[in-house]
Symmetry: D3
Subunit: 250 residues, 6 copies
């Protein structure tokens, strides 16, 4: 199986980190194909950057999607996942949605660890959009940029463990989710130090993508995920433009 691991951030460092973690959890027969955004923010964290990344993500899908059995969008905003399902016709997994559906099958109340106070509102909007804005969800912000650059992350990991334990003790969470693609693989490493299941989106995303690809449901031929047919577009990268067939707007 061939999985496109799409990092819409323009940070090769993050792509590398995510790809390493993905390979650890992927099945032996799965080939991970990591790609990095061609334009936009180094690390997407604002509304404007998210808007730009929607385009960057579909351009990556158009360019690298051929021959892939599924896509994992390794951006915690699940950038362009619905567009990708329409565009490619293979399963496209968002790492946040993957973590949420995984957690829903493991326990009750969710606790989220995020790494940037400002973007928490964006994350909450995303979770609510999936219907998982449950009463009683807890949040802790561990303000740190340590994960985004090479170097020792031991102090950060201690903070994460403490944040999870605080949510267990104070907010009675039953599942902890580490937000951010850059947390790839961290949950597994810290699990022994947590009293509840600890999830990161990339790990969950790889597992969900393999599961969905093995389903073999093929492309939708009706509804809003079916191929749209030839559409008139202008000014796009050739790989992306080619996906619209070059015909006139229907």
């Amino acid at each position: 199986m061939r999985l496109l691991l799409l990092n819409a951030n323009t940070s090769e460092f993050v792509t590398g980190k995510v790809a390493d973690a993905a390979r650890l959890v992927a099945s032996p027969g799965t080939k991970i194909v990591p790609v990095t955004g061609a334009f936009g923010a180094r690390v997407i964290a604002t509304r404007t950057e998210m808007a730009i990344a929607e385009h960057a993500a579909v351009q990556l899908m158009a360019t690298h999607g051929a021959g892939c059995d599924a896509v994992v969008v390794a951006v915690s905003w699940d950038t362009a996942v619905r567009a990708g399902r329409e565009l490619l016709g293979v399963p496209v997994v968002g790492i946040t949605e993957a973590a949420l559906v995984t957690g829903a099958q493991l326990g009750g109340r969710f606790g989220f660890v995020s790494f940037d106070a400002r973007s928490r509102a964006l994350y909450e909007e995303l979770v609510a959009g999936y219907g998982y804005a449950r009463a009683g969800s807890a949040w802790r912000v561990v303000a740190s940029r340590a994960a985004f650059a090479p170097g020792d992350t031991a102090a950060l990991e201690d903070q994460i463990v403490a944040a999870v334990e605080a949510m267990v003790a104070e907010d009675r969470i039953e599942v902890a989710i580490l937000t951010g693609a850059v947390m790839a693989g961290v949950a597994r490493r810290l699990q022994p130090r947590a009293r509840v299941p600890l999830l990161d989106g990339v790990t969950c995303g790889i597992l969900q993508a393999e599961a969905l690809a093995r389903l073999g449901v093929g492309r939708a031929r009706a509804g809003s995920y079916a191929p749209p047919g030839p559409r008139e577009v202008v000014g796009l990268d050739p790989a992306l433009a080619a996906r619209f067939g070059g015909g006139p707007a229907s």
Copy 2:
């Protein structure tokens, strides 16, 4: 007052039509500044096109937003409205949200007329995201491209009137909303033929934008709509890149 009327579609015809309707409803002192998307679909109607348009819309805002008192995004998907609020710090109105909040103050059950069966699901997702997916909303699709090109639209208008009356009689709607930027001004013209208030997004959007601009609340300086500060971005149009201040990622 100066209102940026942003059409993220790449159709100048639609921009012209929307601008004409906007000028009819705008206050005497309001100057309408229409702009058209630089890249993407002629008429945005699929998930992939919406993703591309997010970028096109923020690029337009960055390029043309200076000096505007408010923005009306004249695309029925309210493309990048939240990004725009963050980016520009002036009111940014989506035509669908504008129609919904207007309708909510006029009556109960909503009835929507759309012009493309496929995109109805996308429209429903948008409405639900605003919290207006009320039980009992009704929909009628009038499959027609007549509005997207010059020419007589009398037959289309008869179909719209019939669709609205059908929803009044069969589904007991109390407010009718014509979806699509291209319906700009049509509601007002057809109102005498409808038994319930008839709304189009562009008309509602201009009125809401003027109202919000007159509020004078200024720019948020806290939260997810505050200016993000210098951010590291790559590969963007200069006007858009300039909005990020050129600094390193915070």
Copy 3:
């Protein structure tokens, strides 16, 4: 344009204060017609007083509504707004609904400042009824009667500013709403001291009423807002009774 500014409280002092603020925000061509409740509470703040005010409000509408282009109900309970839409057939705006739809277009999480601990539950019920009982809304009670009588309100205004800042810092609100008709105009004055948009209902209500009146949708002729036809009523004020046409109950 002629706007009926309806204060269902029986306090002329509040009516005067509200009318002054309304005139500040209204367009040059708008004439504000303030009226005061003929019976009921000086300041409506309990469930029983709200019940009485429903009647007082429709009686004011029947008496003074002729010739008005829209009505603003300047009571934070949005007293009888739906009845008024049915009764008069022109836009009837509630100041709380107006503040909510305005805020929804400006930011995310709401923070409310109220001035009476007891009535907060009533206010929450109203907000929930409009579908805006969002997870994470914040509240602060500034227990003070200073706004309801002539005199210096500087201390009160400092308390309001502090309450808003506390909600920004502690609860991450993105829009602040000052409840109560008596706050008319205060938001605008205090905006420079707040880091997020600051709204008061009367200001929002005037702007929404002008917007809705300019829409020109006319009277609903179907559904629960259509004219009810002759109805048999007894014991009412003549102006109100006249609205029912004097015929037998249909």
Copy 4:
């Protein structure tokens, strides 16, 4: 036990009918005290009439509430029930809320029979306000005024039975609710002809009122249902004014 049976309609005919049905279901030791609205609509069915009736209902409560152990508001709009709980400090039951909580304990999907197409929207708003706007609720309108005047109702009853059976067969309802105070006692008479539990609000309301009165919880002394203390009011009926203690507005 003494139950105030409050008909806020101004129709003595309806009051008599409701009182007869109430006495059939009440316990032997329960005394039913029927009262009729002093002003307003003969039969409340529009938004304006509901607004007026809020006042009429609290006036009746103030005048006749002394010495009663509970109140049943025999108007299908549950007029002023929350005001009454605050005003009187004894259980105040709305017949629609009573039918809903009764039905919730008997089965799943609800089906409603109403007798006036126009007011169905108002009824739906009320049901939604109680949190019972469940997906899949069914409605049938039996347009008839037969119940509101003396005379044979056999044809009406056949229509009701047919409407209930249609909802069972077509909409898979599991509980049927006859709306309208005037249906008092009809459910019990028609039960043998229905395949699911058949409820009318007055019967449910009497049973709930007796249950709540027997609880003996007494008056709330905190929160929005506690006595409001002396309040300044003007222009009210003496019995109602007396409830506010004649003091200045707190």
Copy 5:
């Protein structure tokens, strides 16, 4: 009237306590028939114990249900109440649902007192399942086993009173609910010490069961509560097996 008071716990002590409280509130003509679970947990408090108790409860209903006019399931998890409605065709009341519908008719915000930190999540799930997971509900855990064995409960009762008052003062609750069958009768005793209505499930359950039995709606003959007809079952207690008619699976 004959009420089956079903304790699915296997504790005779709890059954006795519940039966005593039930007899205090029941009408003079009501005969309380207490029964105790034949297998399972002494005191049901975990998910596995709840699963076992579902079976124990329907076995008790099958064995003792004949001739009863209604059933009160005196377990705070409302174990098997929906199964019982199907199985027996008489009203089956759950004590938690009974407390919720009673409280909903008395005030607004709920406050719950529970006696075991671990099981609070289970209780919240149950409340949410009934649609009563209202924003703002408050909880206090009074960790104590005193109620489950003979002996002085004065200290426990002081803790309960303090927990209720804390929720009134800090969380503005308007109705307090004591969870757990073992609290039977305690609410009534402590009411004078609480500023808001204080409810326990068994008391509310007996009152609701009497009300529902007096309705006389009889057995559903359609839908998911109708008798299922002969079904093929194996390995069941004879009384329970007999309810399935011994026929082949339909």
Copy 6:
């Protein structure tokens, strides 16, 4: 990996069918361990049978769970899945929840095919309990027992294909879910004849169980899924009783 495939129905035929389908989708290294309920209904389809099966399922888990890496409950009611998570401390997957989370990652509106009109209400309750009772879900009942016995199912399969296509064409569904454990493997076979993804619970359940087991999160040590510690129970099967440690109720 060792997966316990738990059929709480007492039909060996269904167990065999489910196990065959499970082996087709399972990874090469996964061993499927099928077990059948020891008591209860041949095919669980009523509320009483569901109550009994809760006990049967936890007894099977206690007896056969040792050494398994995950459990798939192959009953469309997801019988005792939450109890199993608590009892065993390994992932326990319900086939309906698995189908829902799979479908949510593939498209929008769901369409369900069920095989028994009566039990549809139970299925809807289950789906709603998971938060997936989306507006616009569609249902079709294909009344047939053909799947529950050996023999030709071609006619049944044609009916399923027709039902799915009807929901695509009429209700605009984007994902189809075949309910019932007995549909195991049918979705995959019929996928080429459907225009949208077609799912059955057992296939989805095996894939989810493998994914969750590979996560390696281990046992919750806090919250309502942690081991409950010694509990006092009576009258249980020894394997189940042993799980409670034989100690006194805590």
